[in-house]
């Protein structure tokens, strides 16, 4: 029995770094070992599709904490290292290269990896995806005004990449299989607003069509769609979502189902093994169901919550999820719990792109999206948490302060 406890954290990104810092803030004096697959110090990913991609932010500005932080807090950083297996019985991590690390408890914060599809030509040079700073650097190298790019998939990452490329003077053709951008997240009515935002900035948008092949001699030269369009391009970027990076749990006995299944204390079914962030399919007490999200705020907060849980000081993790996406001059924010909705209530003006839209199920606000209306969205958090029916007319009335719509017995 070692005198000093070891907490290992697998994944040295937002969630892992937040957990490591929290362990020290909470006074844990054992070993904290933070293992990351990438060579860089923990950095922030949101700028990778925005300011960093445009060359408007140096890498140092994306660091989550200054380099000396890890030394000062005695956090052991093990970078450029992939963990291949978690041996739950021996409480041991197996690292690529054969090394091992024994732990007393471990937090899995491996996040996600970009989904790949069996599309011919996907591996051609000039076809990029975006997850890491190395990915962003590859795209940055080719960005030049006047070039033509095809962006495949207009989810949040694709839409942000399209926005950044336009701001750099790159011609953009965007291909999205659904009938609007962000269709699955926001539905048709709000999706049309996002479509307008991109069309106004000159994005040539091809909706309801999908890529069937990337073609070119030694490098991508065109994209072919299922409807037979052939789009010439200098490069292509695809953003078709991520899948949880949970392979390392194979054979561990830890339940994996759309990510690592954890309860509201970030605990897996195996004692001593915890998970948080994009990889964690967590039980959410507000909705009373399992969910997995890929949000920045969840990375920070759930990483911290997991750390406290590991120290036996956990609280049920019940944050209202939210995230932002900046595209051109539009600040888009989304809060709540994505679920099929039966009503959309708009507060403000879709035409002016300054509004809040609420997604209601059986009269309750499940989630809301704001465009250039962040203050109001923040005021809607207690409403989302309360899960009680609200009068749609009052929701829609900009004169009604959203904070007054929350029943007193369920404060934020």
């Amino acid at each position: 029995m070692p005198a000093r406890q070891t907490i290992a954290i697998v994944g040295a990104s937002l969630t892992g770094a937040s957990a490591a810092a929290t362990l020290r803030e909470e006074g844990f004096d054992g070993r904290v070992v933070l293992l990351g697959a990438e060579p860089q110090l923990p950095y922030d990913r949101p700028p990778l599709s925005k300011a960093y991609l445009r060359g408007a932010m140096p890498f140092e500005k994306t660091l989550l904490r200054p380099p000396e932080f890890y030394r000062e807090k005695d956090i052991e950083l093990v970078l450029s290292t992939t963990v291949t297996r978690v041996d739950a019985e021996k409480r041991r991590l197996e690292l690529a290269g054969g090394e091992r690390l024994d732990f007393d408890s471990v937090l899995i914060a491996t996040g996600g990896r970009n989904r790949r599809f069996p599309i011919p030509g996907l591996d051609l040079p000039g076809v990029y995806d975006l997850r890491t700073v190395a990915d962003a650097d590859r795209i940055r190298e080719v960005i030049a005004p006047g070039l033509r790019a095809v962006v495949v998939g207009l989810g949040f990452i694709g839409a942000e990449v399209a926005s950044s490329l336009r701001e750099c003077g790159v011609e953009v053709v965007a291909i999205e299989p659904f009938k609007t951008p962000l269709f699955r997240a926001l539905g048709e009515e709000i999706g049309r607003v996002i479509e307008g935002l991109h069309r106004d900035r000159g994005v040539d948008m091809i909706l309801g069509d999908a890529v069937s092949a990337f073609e070119g001699k030694g490098r991508v030269e065109r994209v072919v769609t299922t409807s037979g369009r052939r789009i010439e391009c200098d490069f292509a970027v695809f953003g078709l979502g991520i899948e949880p990076a949970a392979d390392l749990m194979a054979g561990s006995g830890v339940r994996v189902d759309n990510g690592i299944v954890v309860d509201d204390f970030c605990r897996t079914n195996v004692p001593g093994i915890f998970a948080a962030g994009d990889v964690a399919n967590h039980y959410h007490p507000v909705c009373a169901r399992q969910m997995r999200v890929e949000h920045w705020q969840n990375g920070v907060k759930q990483g911290a919550a997991a750390a406290r849980s590991m120290l036996g000081r956990g609280q049920p993790y019940d944050e209202v999820h939210w995230f932002w996406s900046d595209q051109y001059d539009a600040n888009i924010q989304y809060a709540g719990f994505h679920a099929p909705w039966d009503q959309v209530v708009v507060r403000g003006s879709l035409a002016e792109r300054k509004f809040l839209a609420f997604f209601l199920t059986a009269g309750c606000v499940e989630s809301a999206v704001a465009i250039n209306q962040g203050r109001d969205l923040r005021r809607a958090f207690p409403l989302i948490r309360a899960r009680v029916p609200v009068d749609p007319a009052r929701l829609a009335d900009p004169q009604v302060d959203l904070r007054t719509l929350v029943p007193a017995e369920k404060p934020a």
Binding site: W296, V300, W324, D326, N331, Q333, G374, R375, R378, R379
Partner: protein
Amino acid sequence: MARFVTVANASSIQPGQVLKVEIDNFPVAVANVGGTFHAFDDTCTHEDCSLADGDLEQHKIICPCHFAEFDVRNGAVLTPPATVPLKVYPVRVQGNDLQVEF
């Protein structure tokens, strides 16, 4: 040289309110926290957003763009994504003039 500049009528900012003003074309926010005024840079240290467009909750200003939170009394970061503290300025009330040292 720093000097006190009159930016508003003190009675024009009620407790719980924030007002954006400009001093030498530079955006500064003034908040009234329970009768005490606090002045600070209006632009969030995280990204280019006006803090005066956000909500003031007691001594906490919440950026409307990415919900970073600062303590208006000393500029301290209370909630990420901001990591850099906010610059704050001395404030005084002369008669009904609200003045910020700039």
